[in-house]
């Protein structure tokens, strides 16, 4: 991991007990980032939604049934050991998606991507979307497009950028004023939209930020799995598919055990052993 004190590590924690599944984050993202839409978007396998809200159920019958909504932006993976070799970044042959060591953000360069889709295969979160069609807006509707995010052309891959343009705007402002950017100055469009306040965004490296305080990331590799760095020391906080060593910067939080368990895959009996293990709190607390 990069031990640069100046480096940010932007991330979020989403409270799944607060999320109502309303979809405001999805729409805010689409509107913020000029995401196009087609006449039929009901095939979710070709529907571009940088933020997608999954519906999870505990599989029990009524009235024991429970559901949870899980919003899934790009996880901005740090890759094994959090060295910046995200599953997608490490495979892109044309360096069209890259890891920002100063922010922890995984970028996507639309004009360089040549559409081989290897990155999509490598991403276990299905966070990447291909432009199978030319983006088209009904007559006049291009008028609402934002100049801060360029519309993509057919044949390239796109994904959540943690609203990088918002970071750029905040950074420019801070630079002009000769100071660091503040927590509330850079917030993603999904975070600000959420009516439930379920998403908390900020710098995981900054102990003053709320996201850091909730997640309490363990800077040391997990003694049980050295691929994993940054495990949360909050027992209700987890990451998706943490065991793979993708090291996401999106954390989830729930008081419900079945929800936390659904975040990863476990062999029979494993969960009982690991559910209490949360980033060695005693040694690094």
């Amino acid at each position: 991991m990069i031990e640069n004190k100046k480096a940010h590590k932007f991330g979020m924690v989403i409270d799944l007990d607060k999320c109502t599944g309303c979809g405001a984050c999805m729409v805010s993202c689409m509107s913020e980032n000029n995401v196009p839409f087609k006449e039929d978007e009901s095939n979710k396998k070709d529907s571009i939604t940088w933020m997608r809200v999954y519906k999870l159920t505990n599989g029990k019958s009524f009235p024991e049934t429970e559901i949870a909504y899980l919003p899934r932006p790009c996880q901005h993976c740090g890759g094994i050991g959090d060295h910046g070799h995200s599953p997608c970044v490490s495979v892109c042959p044309a360096t069209a998606t890259d890891y920002g060591y100063d922010t922890g953000i995984v970028s996507q360069i639309y004009t360089r991507c040549f559409g081989c889709r290897y990155c999509m295969g490598a991403c276990p979160y299905h966070a990447r979307y291909f432009n199978w069609w030319d983006p088209k807006w009904p007559e006049g509707m291009e008028n609402y497009l934002s100049p801060n995010v360029s519309p993509r052309m057919r044949g390239v891959v796109e994904k959540c950028s943690f609203c990088y343009h918002r970071y750029q705007l905040a950074r420019e402002r801070a630079m002009v004023e000769g100071r660091e950017i503040e927590e509330m100055e850079y917030q993603t469009a999904c975070t600000t939209a959420c009516p439930a306040g379920a998403i908390v965004f900020g710098d995981l490296n900054n102990p003053a930020h709320k996201v850091h305080q909730i997640v309490k990331p363990d800077p040391h590799p997990d003694p049980m799995n050295h691929k994993v760095v940054g495990k949360s020391r909050n027992p209700n906080v987890f990451r998706l598919l943490e065991r793979l060593g993708t090291n996401p910067k999106v954390y989830y939080m729930s008081e419900r055990e079945w929800v936390r368990k659904a975040g990863d895959n476990y062999l029979k009996g494993e969960w009982e052993n690991v559910k209490t293990h949360h980033g060695a709190s005693s040694s690094h607390g």
Binding site: N43, K45, D46, S47, Y54, L56, L70, C77, I80, H85, P87, S90, V91, C92, P93, A94, T95, A96, R112, C113, F114, G115, C116, R117, Y118, M120, G121, A122, C123, P124, Y125, H126, R128, Y129, F130, N131, W132, W133, D134, M153, R154, G155, V156, V157, N225, L240, L241, R243, L244, G245, T246, K261, A262, G263, D264, N265, Y266, L267, E270
Partner: protein
């Protein structure tokens, strides 16, 4: 009509018959070309690929033709480096098949990418960490090598060879062919391997991910090995088909049996490695990420254990054994069965390592994704087959591809109609 172009002494079917054959296959080719232009002009929405299936039928076809095209580098390696001279009787054909396979692979890639006009970014903005970069570099270089290996054979055409410059060029190229064969083998080792690496490095996909040696996952070595093992099977299979169509014996049994034997041993050793790899993956690698083997083979309408058993036992162990046992190897029926199983086996392996990877759910709340290719995908996948048939037809008709042809068909020629 085209007698002057036909190799000296060789008998070929009448030109109109040849033409009719070419027209029929040509129609299929045009169908493929039409689909190809649809994809280029309208975009990949012409396919049934989707965000779960970013890699689909084409990438399988790509990997499969490269695997079976492996006969060229492996036969070349044996002939020029290990001096297995007997293989001179099949090396031309092996090279032509390789040429077809690799040119097809490049064409498929050019259709498959969303921005074909930016395809060269893979070289210009190369990411050294990506297996696909390695593939692109080695694949293009090796294709150049194959072209060079193919050229002398073309120059041996009766008319071309009359030009002294080409005559000498062909002769001199034959002389230095060992250098190219060595280069080819080296490049092939890497791109076959990196194609295997494409899957093996995807640590987000537990069905694909493998541990390995340094930067190379085990699939890297398994792919090279399987291409070397099964490539010759494909060379032999195509030879057999050509013999059936032309009604002539084109390669002597000795050569065939020798190549079959080498292939048999390669398959057998490969499949042992593959079994070890599978067991290690099933019992160590995947469980360490929370997956039981059964996760990959249940809860869906297509992928069951049958595919694993077919690939490894029926199309791996069986052909391997059939080809190393002398009696079954030298029996034309069992030998043919073995090479057919072998070709199916390697294609199935590539299928699994492309499509099944995409199908398996990784997040606990995700579900299996199955996909059926569109006609445009099927047509563009058949396109290289039609192109290959046409190229082989022309090569066979006008080039001295098979050195043993005349000698093997002396007696038959008098009586039989030509093919």
């Amino acid at each position: 009509m085209d007698d002057a172009l036909i190799p000296e002494g060789a008998k070929r079917c009448a030109f109109p018959i040849f033409l009719i054959g070419i027209i029929i296959v040509g129609a299929v080719l045009l169908w493929g070309v039409y689909a190809m232009f649809l994809c280029w002009i309208k975009g990949l929405n012409q396919t049934n690929m989707n965000d779960y299936y970013g890699f689909a039928l084409w990438i399988w076809a790509d990997l499969a033709v490269i695997a079976v095209g492996g006969g060229a580098f492996f036969t070349g390696l044996l002939k020029y480096i290990f001096k297995v001279d007997e293989l001179k009787n099949i090396i031309n054909f092996a090279v032509i098949i390789g040429f077809i396979c690799y040119s097809s692979a490049l064409l498929i890639l050019a259709i498959d990418i969303g921005q074909p006009l930016r395809g060269w970014f893979i070289f210009w903005h190369a990411n050294v960490h990506s297996m696909l970069t390695e593939v692109a570099f080695c694949l293009s270089c090796y294709f150049a090598v194959l072209t060079i290996e193919f050229i002398p054979n073309i120059l041996e055409n009766r008319q071309v060879n009359k030009v002294p410059f080409f005559h000498h060029l062909a002769h001199n190229m034959h002389g230095v062919m060992a250098v190219f064969a060595a280069t080819g083998a080296f490049l092939s080792f890497f791109h076959q391997g990196s194609l295997g690496g494409v899957a093996g490095v995807m640590f987000g996909r537990p069905f694909a991910f493998r541990e390995g040696l340094l930067i190379w996952p085990w699939t890297f070595f398994l792919f090279t090995w399987s291409a070397a093992a099964f490539g010759p099977c494909f060379t032999l299979l195509v030879t057999k088909i050509t013999e059936i169509i032309t009604g002539k014996k084109l390669v002597g049994d000795k050569t065939v049996n020798l190549l079959a034997k080498i292939s048999g041993w390669m398959i057998t050793t490969y499949i042992i490695a593959k079994i070890i790899d599978t067991i290690y993956w099933a019992y160590v690698t995947a469980p360490s990420m929370g997956f039981k083997l059964s996760h990959f083979y249940s809860d869906n309408g297509f992928y069951g254990y049958w595919i694993l058993i077919t690939e490894v036992i029926l199309c791996g162990v069986v052909p391997g054994l059939l080809l190393i046992i002398k009696s079954t190897r030298e029996n034309p029926t069992t030998r043919t069965i073995a090479i057919i199983l072998g070709v199916i086996g390697v294609c199935l392996n590539r299928w699994v390592m492309v499509l099944q990877i995409m199908a398996v759910p990784v997040m606990s709340f995700d579900s299996w994704a199955l996909y059926i290719p569109s006609w445009q995908e099927v047509a563009t996948t058949i396109l290289p087959v039609a192109y290959g048939i046409i190229l082989i037809a022309f090569a066979y008709r006008y080039l001295p591809v098979f050195p043993q042809e005349l000698e093997l068909n002396e007696s038959a020629d008098a009586a039989a109609q030509n093919g």
